[in-house]
Symmetry: C2
Subunit: 224 residues, 2 copies
Amino acid sequence: MERFEPTERTTLKRLPNRGVFDREAVYRILDESFICHVGFIVDGRPFVVPTGYGRKGDNLYIHGSAASRMLRSLARGIEVCVTVTLLDGLVLARSAFHHSMNYRSVMIFGAASLVEDEEERLEALLAISEQVIPGRWDEVRLPNPSELKQTSVLRLPLEEVSAKVRTGPPLDDEEDYALAVWAGEVPLRLTACEPVADPRLPADIPVSHSASHYSKTNGRSLRE
Amino acid sequence: MERFEPTERTTLKRLPNRGVFDREAVYRILDESFICHVGFIVDGRPFVVPTGYGRKGDNLYIHGSAASRMLRSLARGIEVCVTVTLLDGLVLARSAFHHSMNYRSVMIFGAASLVEDEEERLEALLAISEQVIPGRWDEVRLPNPSELKQTSVLRLPLEEVSAKVRTGPPLDDEEDYALAVWAGEVPLRLTACEPVADPRLPADIPVSHSASHYSKTNGRSLRE
């Protein structure tokens, strides 16, 4: 399926031209970030929790302590809405009313389930690690059985998904273009700074490739 | 009230030392960002939508088209969870298991209500504008009655609120400190780039102060 089928929840009621349903375009947005906001319901009330994620094929994976309230709630198979937002810039119009932001956001609806298969669990943990900081997995001590036991991995299939994108300059009312007001965009980027060594790190251990490479690159463009 | 009273929803079950309830500390986090993720329930299913916000006193304000699904849903006074997340860095431990992120996040629970008073509506719109880009309000054409009519403003009182903060180096298992693995933090910052003029802007209009100032400053530290 090259396009996500729009549903009642994923159909944009207003500004439908901002909607994106092409699967590859949606995956490019997901692959450029690594933080999502997970919405779920406990006792009839909404919760929104930020967490890291990884995409592998047509699944999104999140992980956490097996003891966490969120992981335990989600593992029961309750409905979730996972939203990923990339903020690309502030859009400055000539009128206050037409100010906006350039962004790319993805909403995923569905039910997550606990990954039980040990091979898929390890692949998911690797996918999350690679999404946050490529190459790091090969530099570190890998999880031991006790650590794996403390970790829950959840799989959310990418089935009911839509993206919303705004790009470009402001759109002012035609008569406002005559105003002597500067208009345009202030682009925003998530940027990595120079790595900071752990105070307990011996001085003769050089910065690892994953960290030094990351520090020289926009955290996003690294994955583009 | 100098501290938010912890409730069932805002009490951290795990890692309680990451919890922050001091009102001023929570407000500093809120004031450093301008994007939140709003969680709410429609027909028994969770939705999470990113949007801008402004804080003024003990209220958080959001705005949007009076026609939007989210604004219409929230204006009914349903329960929301608004989460604000600042990502400060990647925490690279010697073991895969102890990798983490440094972050500051705030969760606000409650019910929003539609602001009807015209004076409060304007003050809220100004607060949102100032939170996104300080000084811009004074440079632009202000909303006319028709635009104001198309805009809904919602107020969410800051009553049931908590923050969660992680800072500092990785915390590895004691025996792993002997490994020859680089460990530390890759700091992340939201950075503003040089402003890009609207293609329809006459060449003789200089970049406005709000935009040029913003471009030279970390979008966050501007509000610190």
